[in-house]
Symmetry: C2
Subunit: 339 residues, 2 copies
DNA sequence: GATCGAGACTAGAGCGCTCTAGCCCTTGAA
DNA sequence: TTCAAGGGCTAGAGCGCTCTAGTCTCGATC
């Protein structure tokens, strides 16, 4: 058969034969455990290289009772999810585990992704921003250790790692107040996940700054269109604010483009803070000051939990909250003096 | 051990016992092949459901000599790559194969990704926009069937599926000319992959339209900053063009923001066409007319090739070229009458 | 009534590893 | 000298499936 010339199946036995040792010894060498002389170790590696051998993952996993695999379910098109995945890859190198990716997309459900990861016998699952129903999540968590990221759950049946959204909104406000703003409004996310926390953070921060009288929450949303719509409320009226904390970057971008179209100079006449540090915030034509989630710590904490759970750690679910940080770009500045 | 209460290992043997049949029969049922009575099929499925059994992928793959797995190497942060991955998922359902993802990121090399997929004994590899050196690619292709997407190779050692960039630039020009533009310039991508083809497409289209005299290529680049820089060239001078075909969307976005800052109305005074249909093109504040790659056909063609190669198809490498299409948004319109 | 064939089912040998048990040898302490 | 300890190595039994080569049953055919 023509295909035979390709790698074909060079197995551990072939390597063993060529190196003149037993299969078991080859296994020892490839697992990197003690029990082989330096000489033989070298011999085996050479033989393997000559034959182009690489161990068969499937067999390897089957042989040991543990799969040493962590499953990650993430949204293929969510930039923040993919950022977390990258962090996972980085973090997992320090462990004895490997990662298996299960992507989610408009045409591929979480259910499908989870199913396929389960077939690989992952020892724990990392779910990034899962949208599945609560009862499905609970059911899953009873089958396999689960760590949920970026979704707030009350009374969780599994570990949760998330960003402190209240704190995020707070530091956004503090940034503006620190620059000298007093009239700072919040364009919120209505009922989106996280919206309530951000609203609360905004309110509390304003109160702490002695600006209770200035508190004003304007209904917004998640999209640019929502931001554009909210712009009407923000910009009209006598009491135009000098600072806006928006629910997220897209909303802020809509607001920004509407403001500029109205001839309002940003940041000279209006400062704007987004949320998420999504890619558009970094575009030079937008250059949005925003709140960034600490993907590194989020991923690190989640990975740590997953590994411990996989190792049999059996304590009640843990809720880990990571503070976000401010990223200052071009849409925030000292307010101009008016009147 | 505490972990035992979780799924633990329920195997085919457990299902067989519960259903009162042999393991082999359970296998037959789960593989969905003929050879089991309706009654027993039902019995087995019921037993499996009761036990919460799902077949072990690792063992399954090991048992059959073929892995029935296609590996995909893609850039985690490239939106176009992830779009292709989604298409792959869709397409692969119609086949007998499964997908294994190997993500690439700034901190994770293609080499690592390929290595891990190879350990899974993928029967073919789909490389999306691979950046590895030519000789590494050739070496890889000699080990396992490889299909390369979105990278132009001359005299390839493997199948290539790509977009017809020359054609893309051509239809961008034709769109503008069709709207009545005559002074159409091209802000190019210098030496970026695809830049030469797009330049050629622009030139040829202009010539076909009888506008050879208007041909003008301005050095650009891939980023917004490149676009902003090119804007100076485009907008200055007596002979300002009415239409611009940019190398890509980011370049076009930079151009757009610079033009607007200069008080040039888009699309009234200047029409702009980008390339790639990236996410920013769809942002309402940008709303860029652009050229979209046909991810569906690209993925379909690549998948088809991979499956055939995996099946032992052994013809010389195939080069598949897919035409892109125009996406009209808000940055292109009939030119205003001047003078 | 013997023969055949098809369908339903099973036994059991792999697949390529891991890992335990045990062998052989050398070394150092008793 | 004896024995324990331990390093280096191997045999061989799994791991949970797939798949070939059967066996058995039953009804149709000659």
């Amino acid at each position: 058969m023509a295909g035979e010339s390709r790698s074909s199946a060079v197995t551990m036995a072939d390597v063993a034969e060529r190196a003149g040792v037993s299969r078991a010894l080859v296994s020892i060498v490839f697992r990197g455990v003690v029990g082989a002389s330096a000489e033989n170790r070298e011999r085996v590696m050479r033989a393997a290289a000559e034959l182009g051998y690489s161990p068969d993952r499937r067999a390897r996993l089957l042989g040991s009772s543990r799969s040493r695999t962590l499953g990650v379910v993430f949204g293929l098109h969510h930039e923040f999810h993919t950022e977390l995945v990258e962090r996972f890859y980085q973090g997992v190198e320090r462990t004895e585990f490997d990662l298996a990716l299960g992507a989610t997309a408009p045409t591929r459900t979480e259910r499908t992704a989870v199913q396929s990861l389960l077939e690989f016998r992952c020892e724990a699952l990392l779910l990034v921003g899962p949208t599945m129903q609560r009862k499905d999540l609970d059911a899953l968590a009873s089958q396999v250790p689960v760590v949920v990221l970026a979704r707030d759950l009350r009374a969780p049946s599994c570990d949760v790692v998330r960003t402190d959204d209240e704190h995020g909104a707070r530091i956004a406000v503090e940034h503006l107040v620190g620059l000298g703003h007093r009239a700072v409004v919040h364009v919120d996310g209505r009922r989106a996940p996280g919206a309530a926390e951000r609203r609360r953070g905004y309110r509390k921060a304003m109160e702490s700054a002695g600006l209770s009288a200035q508190v004003r929450v304007i209904p917004g949303g998640l999209t640019e269109e929502d931001g554009e719509r909210a712009a009407a409320d923000v910009l009209s009226g006598r009491s135009r604010p000098t600072g806006v904390v928006a629910f997220n970057d897209h909303c802020a971008a809509g607001l920004l483009s509407a403001a500029r179209q109205d001839g309002v100079a940003v940041p000279r006449s209006l400062s704007l803070v987004g949320y998420d540090d999504s890619r558009i915030a970094g575009l030079s034509s937008i250059s949005l000051t925003t709140i960034a989630q600490d993907s590194r710590r989020l991923a690190g904490a989640a990975l740590d939990l997953a590994v411990r759970r996989a190792g049999g750690w059996d304590e009640p679910p843990v809720d880990t909250v990571v503070p976000p940080r401010l990223v200052v770009r071009g849409t925030s500045a000292t307010p101009e003096r008016r009147r």
